[in-house]
């Protein structure tokens, strides 16, 4: 059975990836599910939807159709953010808008203690439900940091503020950032993403950075980190926040522009560790 399953996977995946993925399928699923898992995978269904999870830092995040799978690039900047906030004069109350599975909110809440309230919000009910499940699923990891974590249904385009808390020092977000015109293979989007992941989590552009920048004064944020896919989204953000704020871009480990970071006072200068390129 082994060689045949591997053979099916190598038709659509590079050999080493097929070997790895088959090993994980066998480790994580009961043997009567292997056949079906391999079949679905060879039809490009994401492995994380088949196995039901994606590791994210030290957490295990549950995944299912209708909610975007957390990306390694997001995991990377979350870890970087936590390490530059660790032990420094820190932020109270963190809002993660467009929270999806809840990965960003949960990751920060598990790595940093005494943040106060950590709230994740999303306009998708499916996402909010899954995020709540993920909070319970990772309960052990969240226990020690003494934060209050919660998830709510809110629409960013209507600048809705979570009901449980109105003031947040830090606003983080990974909003949909693929422009409609690029939502195809020639725009760099993988077939499996196009076919299986929710477009409402992916398609968006400058308007989301407008909404996010408008949220900053509404919730009284002193700092922000937004993920992005295009330099222009970072430049737009820089132009929308007051000149007095410090602002810069962060790169991911592959060298691509991945985040825009801003903060309004010296106490938060340690966020400069997130920045690879300051913006004037």
């Amino acid at each position: 059975m082994g060689p045949r399953l591997l053979e099916i996977l190598t038709r659509t995946l590079p050999t080493q990836q097929a070997v790895n993925e088959l090993r994980w399928i066998k480790q994580e699923l009961p043997s009567d599910k292997w056949e079906e898992a391999v079949k679905q995978r060879s039809q490009q269904r994401p492995l994380q939807y088949i196995l039901g999870t994606q590791p994210f830092g030290s957490l295990t995040i549950k995944c299912r159709e209708g909610v975007l799978i957390p990306r390694a690039e997001t995991e990377e900047w979350c870890t970087r953010l936590a390490s530059c906030m660790d032990g420094r004069p820190h932020c109270t109350n963190v809002l993660d808008y467009c929270t999806g599975t809840g990965c960003i909110a949960l990751s920060l809440a598990s790595q940093l203690s005494d943040l106060g309230q950590v709230v994740g919000s999303d306009f998708s009910q499916k996402a909010v439900e899954l995020a709540r499940e993920n909070m319970a699923f990772n309960g052990q990891e969240l226990l020690e940091s003494r934060n209050e974590v919660g998830f709510e249904n809110c629409d960013l385009s209507r600048l809705q503020v979570p009901r449980s808390c109105g003031k947040f020092d830090l606003l983080v977000s990974n909003p949909p950032y693929i422009p409609k015109n690029d939502m195809n293979v020639s725009g760099g989007v993988e077939e499996s993403v196009l076919k299986y992941e929710p477009w409402s989590a992916l398609v968006g552009d400058l308007e989301f950075y407008h909404y996010l920048c408008s949220m900053i004064p509404v919730i009284g944020a002193k700092a922000f980190v937004f993920e992005l896919g295009y330099r222009q989204q970072g430049m737009e953000t820089r132009n929308l926040i007051p000149d007095s704020w410090k602002c810069g871009l962060g790169y991911d480990s592959a060298g691509h522009i991945r985040t825009v970071i801003g903060w309004c006072n010296q106490e938060l200068d340690s966020l400069g560790d997130m920045v690879d390129e300051m913006l004037a």
Partner: protein
């Protein structure tokens, strides 16, 4: 058992190998979380793609490197020994971490299907020395 050797972070150069080109982020959903470490003083390179977790792979790669250096120092370097130790280590880790998690996940799912005998069994790690590449 002698204490497990550690390697100073200052002597390590770390790389995350994603494979593929393009801009990544939301556009691509990778399953690969391969980690490569280079020990600067000796030039030894080790990699790990044993688990789906980059966090775990980073730890595993460090343990492999430490073991490799330890073996070299003791002069009784044996590839067979190293491979065996690594296998056990990976097993231990996936047991400790993912097994517990996935068992929990399975238990939640159990309502739909009752046959989950297989999850309790240890599946042998089949990849092999792919994960230990020693470049001089």
């Amino acid at each position: 058992m002698p204490p497990r050797p550690k390697v100073s972070e200052l002597e390590i150069e770390e790389k995350f190998i994603k494979g593929g080109s393009g801009n990544g982020g939301q556009k691509i959903n990778k399953t690969n979380s391969k980690v490569q470490l280079k020990h600067i003083p000796t030039g030894i390179v080790v990699t790990s793609q044993a688990t789906r977790s980059r966090d775990q792979n980073r730890k595993i790669a460090r343990e492999i490197l430490a073991m490799k250096l330890d073996e070299m120092e003791k002069g009784k370097e044996s590839r067979a020994q190293l491979l065996m130790a690594r296998k056990q280590m990976v097993k231990r880790r996936s047991k400790k971490k993912s097994k517990a998690k996935y068992r929990k996940l399975e238990e939640e799912k159990k309502t739909e299907s009752e046959s989950n005998v297989e999850t309790e069994q240890e599946t042998t790690i089949v990849d092999e020395d792919e994960d230990i590449i020693v470049v001089k």
